[in-house]
Assembly symmetry: D3
Homo-oligomer: 135 residues x 6
Amino acid sequence: MVYVTRKAHFSSSHRLYNPAWANEKNQKVFGKCNNPNGHGHNYDIEVTVAGDPPHETGMVIDLKKLADILEEEIVERVDHKHLNEDVDFLKGIIPTAENMAIAFWKILNPKITEGKLHSIKLYESYNNFVEYRGE
Amino acid sequence: MVYVTRKAHFSSSHRLYNPAWANEKNQKVFGKCNNPNGHGHNYDIEVTVAGDPPHETGMVIDLKKLADILEEEIVERVDHKHLNEDVDFLKGIIPTAENMAIAFWKILNPKITEGKLHSIKLYESYNNFVEYRGE
Amino acid sequence: MVYVTRKAHFSSSHRLYNPAWANEKNQKVFGKCNNPNGHGHNYDIEVTVAGDPPHETGMVIDLKKLADILEEEIVERVDHKHLNEDVDFLKGIIPTAENMAIAFWKILNPKITEGKLHSIKLYESYNNFVEYRGE
Amino acid sequence: MVYVTRKAHFSSSHRLYNPAWANEKNQKVFGKCNNPNGHGHNYDIEVTVAGDPPHETGMVIDLKKLADILEEEIVERVDHKHLNEDVDFLKGIIPTAENMAIAFWKILNPKITEGKLHSIKLYESYNNFVEYRGE
Amino acid sequence: MVYVTRKAHFSSSHRLYNPAWANEKNQKVFGKCNNPNGHGHNYDIEVTVAGDPPHETGMVIDLKKLADILEEEIVERVDHKHLNEDVDFLKGIIPTAENMAIAFWKILNPKITEGKLHSIKLYESYNNFVEYRGE
Amino acid sequence: MVYVTRKAHFSSSHRLYNPAWANEKNQKVFGKCNNPNGHGHNYDIEVTVAGDPPHETGMVIDLKKLADILEEEIVERVDHKHLNEDVDFLKGIIPTAENMAIAFWKILNPKITEGKLHSIKLYESYNNFVEYRGE
């Protein structure tokens, strides 16, 4: 079994807040991430697929195909967008990196037909990142 | 003469548009950067100060002081903010990286009292960055 | 379950030697890391916490709080210090990256009260790093 | 148990093709990686060894020794080489990153006598990398 | 005046040799870069354009347009290619990073119609890079 | 004219203090960098040589030779050393990055016989670096 990873990039804005809460509680819990006009990040996403590379190709998954899936299913829908306002599959979800990784998994998992989706890693900044393995 | 650089980081959202133009022209000129709800970036800023390191200290400028100036004058005013909406010194300016670098120079230049401000470098993403040298 | 990581940085000096050994054996085992006056590194530490992000916050752990714990418990005690001489919790320990990661785990583990400490990763240089998972 | 990683670098050229296939099928499956005159990469290899650091040394494995093994067994045999033409241990193998990681494991595993080889990670480019854990 | 930089990436193979020289001299001068079957690199290219950002756009040059020029004129012609064999504009040129930067300048300079081409920076590896400013 | 850069790395410890000053003043001026037992860094050094690449080689300077000069003249004398205690050519100099860059220039300048030494860039950490151009 080999783990194959493809990385992609997108730049988005978001705001962390829970609409069920008063402003004061939102401010207390989410701090500067709660700024009403939002803020933004350059996100890196790493998608890891696990499988046995077949003898004829030596490739767990065609990386070009994986890159295309990632581009069409994720990047085109979130890049240069406001994650709270512009992204259908994030509606009603607080767009923390944790929730985004889980949402990306749900979209990508049925699309991965060679090998098996193993992990979604999402870097929100150089110092903060999350990983979700479907567990 | 030695050039001393200090780097800092901030995460902001912005939208590129010219209020004097129709939506269609804004869309044509600024493309996906014109998305009405904005998008965002992790910005890196590098401030370079030039000078002769005095014999007694060997330092062109106290880097701790430079870091503090950068933090107070720039990072605290733009980090986790919407550059078009929340930042007083960017009001009326299209927040391209070019314009931001020039605006940062205007703020920082009078604060640098050891050595001489030489350059402001601003990275909007891994692939895009600008430099302004006050020329 | 989502794995959330926060990175921090510190710059320290250290010397690798075993006081129970003769100089010659220390030199043979630790090579240039045994230099009597020590040497130093810019260390990166990555702390990973695992947990389920609650529906109300979407966050496994408040990253600001995790950053503060990391700063107070680790960075303030080792940054710009000599690891053999200045750090109480490393007394009597050979400050290899392996031993440092284990020591950091012991300090951080009881402080992590949201989620569960999963991993301490410590980069001594671009080419050398270690990971400890409490196993 | 601590996981210790050493990174190394090499620059090689290769061509992806299956000699059992017609040119057309090779082109279809491997795309631009099938270019007859080949292309190349700066590869990063990370070798991870797991073990308990003994009390006397605090080191799972002497990193200098691990670096030397990596240099002699891998880097010297692939650096500035054409992977299809010049590397004996890759003869008859399609030099995808997956197959290279497996081939490196087979060579390195018997050489690791302190600790236990845990993982080979191979970066073909900034956006593409694979990991093999001997499973 | 602001300096705006766009970065792009390509992966190529090459061989350094002077056809006017005997094998022995080529080997002596170019060392392992003279390997007959070639070797390869992941190259980064940074193109810097200098100009005054007009008031209406705040952009020295439309970065999307610069990225497209870079993609069409350079990346598509060298990516996943053998620089000695497959690239028309490098025929008869020893493909050192120096010569490549000069060749890229000659191609890009007439295509930059907003602002003025200021610099081509070419990274052959993490440790080796060159810059050409048309001087 | 092309600017060719070679990067190298070393890990050292140092302490910033001026022996002509009282402890209190040293502490005030150099802050945590004045810690009596020292601290350390992973330094990156970039040496840039400018020249015209001759037609027969396409190389401003043989990078292998430049790398060897850098290794012998600088890295071997500072790597895994205490800069205040162990390095002859830094005796009597406060080892700030500024002073180190100037000292490295003095050593390297007479050794560069192909092309002309243009710049020494020294990174003390990810956020702090200096450049000296012999001016």
